[in-house]
Symmetry: C2
Subunit: 518 residues, 2 copies
């Protein structure tokens, strides 16, 4: 990191604040407003705090209604129309905003404006919480630039968790209404209480986890590596936010490789990543019912089970494959090998830090990475990929088919046909996106299949790991990877929302439960 002048920094932070406010206002207009419907007012209480609250509620509903009728908002809402499209627009706006800020001269350490494609690529990578970089984050960007990236990561991670959760609620609501009414009932609205509850709870979980992890990391950076408390706090906060949001941006050019044997850096980061990758619906349920797994919803059971299986399996497979590799685990002691193996198993799902050299890994390990990255993490989480539930649903379909059962069951529940088809669609469209971009990059660049496939899967699943070719794939390659990150981040969730909202009513033979896929 090179220092900006004090004046530049102040100007920059002001700009950042204005931008953040503008962005939040825009999101509010586009996303929150159409979701809010005035709730039937109870009788206005006579006095005290209740009265103030009631008045505030009335005022808010009035503002919302007025705003909704305001021509600008009304037009925008109509243009945007489908809730899934709003999410795409919101993320597009965030990328645009980030690109503009990162293209400012004082966003770089050198004081020269970054090339447009560098700014766009970095902004996309940050908003989509991917972590692929074409320039070294810690040395290329100024403090202002790094704060922009941090803001974009937080917007991206928070945005995907809340929006995916809200869309999931909307889908569940609509399907429930159709079932009850037996019609193609249409409703676009969520109760204001629900929206607030989701936003506040996501915020609460985010703040609690990020602050706790940042505190541990700050202490370790200060105590163990001799940084001053200011710098240590900056490092701690940056890595904590980046980890919880599964972003994979770091301030060291070698990611976490210098900390390969330090559990006090590695384990807090791994913890933040795993929590961030479970997804809000799971975290919300776990907080209430972590002691009674038998009462968990199907979605939580599948997500927790798959997370455990993929972590344990990845740890074992990668550990065994790399155990004696002189470029990775070979030179380390046994305890460090176990720690580095765990970190390496966690990162492809889909955090994107690395404490071992990816380019030095065995081809077997790279392909294991491809598989783990493609599967990804939990739905409505900061992790990417097709999501563990999508993968599990496909597994249950095949299991049922092999057993010759006419309908598909998972852990004692029947999976609706719609979910099966959505899982298939998401997985195969993911394969198609990766295949197409891999073919394109093979034509455009001199690199071989193994590293190109690693790069495209990493971009699609918003992982951010790389064998080191990201900077060298050329402008066309950067455009392809940017699109792939954007598609990978928003494709599954918007696709499943669009698909599910159009699903027709079906007859049910047994009680059904719908895990969130995508």
């Amino acid at each position: 990191m090179m220092e900006s002048t004090a004046g530049q920094l102040v100007l920059g932070l002001l700009l950042l604040a204005v931008a953040a406010l503008a962005f939040i206002a825009g999101l509010f207009l586009l996303v929150w407003l159409p979701l809010v419907v005035p709730q039937p007012h109870r009788r206005t209480p006579r006095r005290g705090r209740a009265r103030i609250r009631a008045t505030a509620r009335t005022a808010r509903d009035t503002i919302a209604t007025r705003l909704r009728r305001w021509p600008v908002t009304a037009t925008l809402t109509q243009v945007v129309g489908h809730p899934a499209r709003m999410v795409v627009l919101g993320f597009g706006a965030a990328v645009l905003l980030g690109s503009v800020l990162l293209a400012l001269p004082f966003a770089t350490g050198s004081g020269q404006a970054a090339p447009v494609m560098t700014a766009v690529f970095t902004a996309t990578s940050a908003v989509c919480v991917t972590g692929l970089v074409v320039v070294d984050t810690g040395t290329y960007w100024s403090t202002f630039g790094e704060l922009v990236i941090l803001l974009l990561i937080q917007i991206g991670g928070f945005g995907i968790m809340t929006l995916a959760s809200l869309l999931g609620l909307l889908v569940a609501r609509r399907l429930r209404m159709r079932l009850q009414l037996g019609t193609q009932a249409e409703t676009k609205a969520l109760g204001v209480g629900e929206v607030r509850r989701v936003i506040l709870n996501v915020l609460r979980i985010t703040v609690v986890v990020e602050v706790l992890i940042a505190a541990v990391l700050t202490w370790r950076f200060a105590d163990g590596y001799g940084h001053g408390w200011g710098r240590a706090t900056y490092l701690g906060v940056f890595h904590s936010v980046s980890a919880f949001n599964n972003a994979g941006f770091g301030l060291y050019p070698d990611s976490l490789m210098r900390f390969v044997g330090d559990p006090l850096i590695c384990l807090p980061i791994v913890t933040a990543i795993i929590i961030g990758g479970l997804g809000f619906p799971v975290l919300f349920e776990l907080r209430r019912e972590w002691r009674t797994p038998q009462r968990w919803s199907l979605h939580t059971k599948i997500t927790m089970g798959m997370t455990g299986i993929l972590l344990a399996g990845g740890w074992l497979a990668i550990g065994l494959a790399e155990w004696t590799n002189p470029k990775t685990l070979g030179p380390l002691g046994v305890a460090d090998r176990l720690l580095a193996g765990l970190v390496t198993a966690v990162m492809p799902r889909t955090a994107g830090f690395n404490s071992l050299d990816i380019a030095g890994m065995h081809d077997f390990t790279l392909l294991m990475h491809d598989v783990l990255m493609f599967i990804g993490g939990g739905s409505a989480s900061t992790a990417g990929g097709i999501k563990v539930t999508t993968f599990a649903v496909l597994g249950f379909v095949i299991l049922a088919e092999i057993r010759g059962e006419p309908s598909v069951h998972a852990l004692g529940r029947k999976l609706p046909a719609g979910v099966q088809r959505q899982a298939l669609t998401i997985a195969l469209l993911g394969v198609a996106a990766i295949a197409a971009s891999t073919l394109a990059l093979l034509v455009l660049t001199p690199f071989a299949l193994d590293v190109v496939l690693f790069e495209t899967v990493s971009a699609f699943a918003t992982v951010g790991l790389s064998t080191g070719i990201t900077a060298q794939v050329g402008t066309a390659g950067h455009v392809i990877l940017s699109l792939l990150m954007f598609i990978g981040r928003l494709g599954p969730i918007t696709a499943v929302t669009a698909l599910a909202l159009r699903e027709r009513t079906r007859r049910y033979e047994r009680p059904e439960e719908r895990p969130v896929v995508g």
Copy 2:
């Protein structure tokens, strides 16, 4: 090819004849017998040929009934049980027989017995009509060895066409009966007339195509390359049989590379491959109705359409990618480039000859090969892969899902849910088999992902193309590739039969039609 002594050759041919007879008898007992049910006899005609025929029919039914009650046969039938299992057993027996014959000392040109794994691998490759080789066919084996390989190819190709067609009939019959009776009706028998019709028609198509193509090739080998008529006939027959059965075994160490610019060699071979890869159900229908495509069944329409699309697309993509590659198309004239491009587009589906150097191809072209090989050819054909109909069904499912349609339609027909799930199962189990064996080979061998993936896809889809590493993957690698060829050849057809036979009755809203998948 090195010459065996005359005595060895005579002994060998005698052995071959005995083995072929034993094998046919075994197949007859295992496969034909349980499929035959005596038909109700009409009144015995008084005289003439009709009387002789009726007597023969009675005699045959009596023999079949007796044989079926014979303890050995009855036990075998009971052990084997499921028709799909019979197919596996039949192919296993053919591989065993071929391995024994190829392990005989005079099967090699040197007169020293081949190592067991070489014999087993070559026999598996021939029976599964794959064409992967660990030794050069033309120089390593004696004439006897080559004839064994030719016999195994013919058994494998003929076997898969007839058995897949018969299993397809059985499945269609059983589903029709269930629909009519509304019950889980069980019947294991096909009419003797149907079985005979399928076998005779497959035989007729095989003989006609192979003889015609062999004639053209023989003339070209004699007239254009100065071979004597005996040698030319041998070369013509071998390449014709190998091409029609999509086997990919050749007698030249460079496959067809020396004939890259000779349309009179390339085009007959390409024709035989395409015809062989359409599958018996399509060929049978085309012979009757080639002039009226609008009356074709859904299966034929999809197979013909996908074949056209994949050939044209592959030709275009591979041609463009390799146009200036100095190791492949670059040095050729324009006409030769077009011819070689066509040949290269045909071969991955799934013939396995090559007229260009695979190892010299661009990584883009290799990945295109992987995709084309995985998709493969037509059902109940000599081609491998998951089959074009399987691929198309998955495409139609995604299309329906994207359009928000509650049921899946293809070309005006509804696709039953069972077929959708079977297509998904076949495709994903294929991916799993390839992923597992690729991971294993990456651990066991020093080769990189691109060539290993090419090898495993080639084995699974019974293609037989290679970047040249087949001989160097070690014994464990050879075992894996052999298993993969066997699974790839029999997995899809037996899986779909087993799955479909267990499928329950469903209610139908619109007229349905069932394409054969797998």
